[in-house]
Symmetry: D2
Subunit: 92 residues, 4 copies
């Protein structure tokens, strides 16, 4: 099974960003409890979407510079196939 | 300030979906702690994106059938402007 | 069959924007003939995507202020269903 | 200036797909002239969006297997940066 070894600092950075998204979702839960107007809820949901995209782009950036680069240097084409699969998933 | 009054059942439904997304994010946090392969992390992030989109579409659907419809019947054009704003936010 | 009657000015406006997109595609065809670098081709394709999105948002904006508004005032819920369908199509 | 040399067959394939998108746009122009209902126009515009995305994914796929792979083997990191730029452009 493939693994990606990240530094503690790197792990912390990603987990912090995931916690921020969790916090955004908690805020939306409170909005729902407080009868917030749909339009305001939807604006917050679009902000969550943007955060998830931005974190995805960040993880992908690291992936290309490390795992993918190493894979290609070892003539592992599977890693290219995976990146294409990701591109298709995110560019539907 | 505009409000949307939802039934208890409706609130529960939306909050349950938000909790599921929170759970997906917790899963990704565990993946990062466990040195999961970037590609696997990215697939899970794209799943979170899909969940957020699907919940957004659900909230929007209710919004159009209730707040927007009522607003238009009262000749409130602001609600149309808001929907256009949402469309632009989600269709960037 | 439903129709949308647009002024001549409005028709001209939309057709001009469609012609611009056609022009962008002609440019990409020339790039392919001239062995343009994939990255440059892809940047132009993303520009076409943006033009199509922007035109879609423009047509939708008119649609909501005219057909949808009129439909709702006549208690025609089908038009709301259609808008939801569009939102789902564009927010996949 | 970077170039991508494609076989005649490959060029033809991409140009055919660009011609198809041109045809879709011509169809939408006719719809506008014929007072087509906005919803129908928007459904066709979303079909154009899908065609452009699908062609972009196709060109990217070739790009990763050729230019990018070769670049990385020559220790050219610029090509990775470019791919990240593309990902961000398409995953806004």
């Amino acid at each position: 099974m493939k693994k990606t070894y990240r530094t503690e600092e790197e792990k912390k950075k990603i987990i912090t960003r995931l916690n921020i998204i969790n916090g955004q979702l908690e805020g939306i839960k409170r909005m729902i409890s407080d009868d917030a107007y749909c339009n305001d809820v939807l604006i917050q949901l679009s902000a969550v979407s943007s955060s998830v995209k931005s974190l995805s782009n960040y993880v992908l950036e690291n992936h290309l510079y490390t795992c993918m680069k190493d894979g290609i240097k070892k003539d592992d084409d599977e890693v290219i196939e995976e990146v294409i699969g990701l591109f298709k998933k995110f560019n539907k």
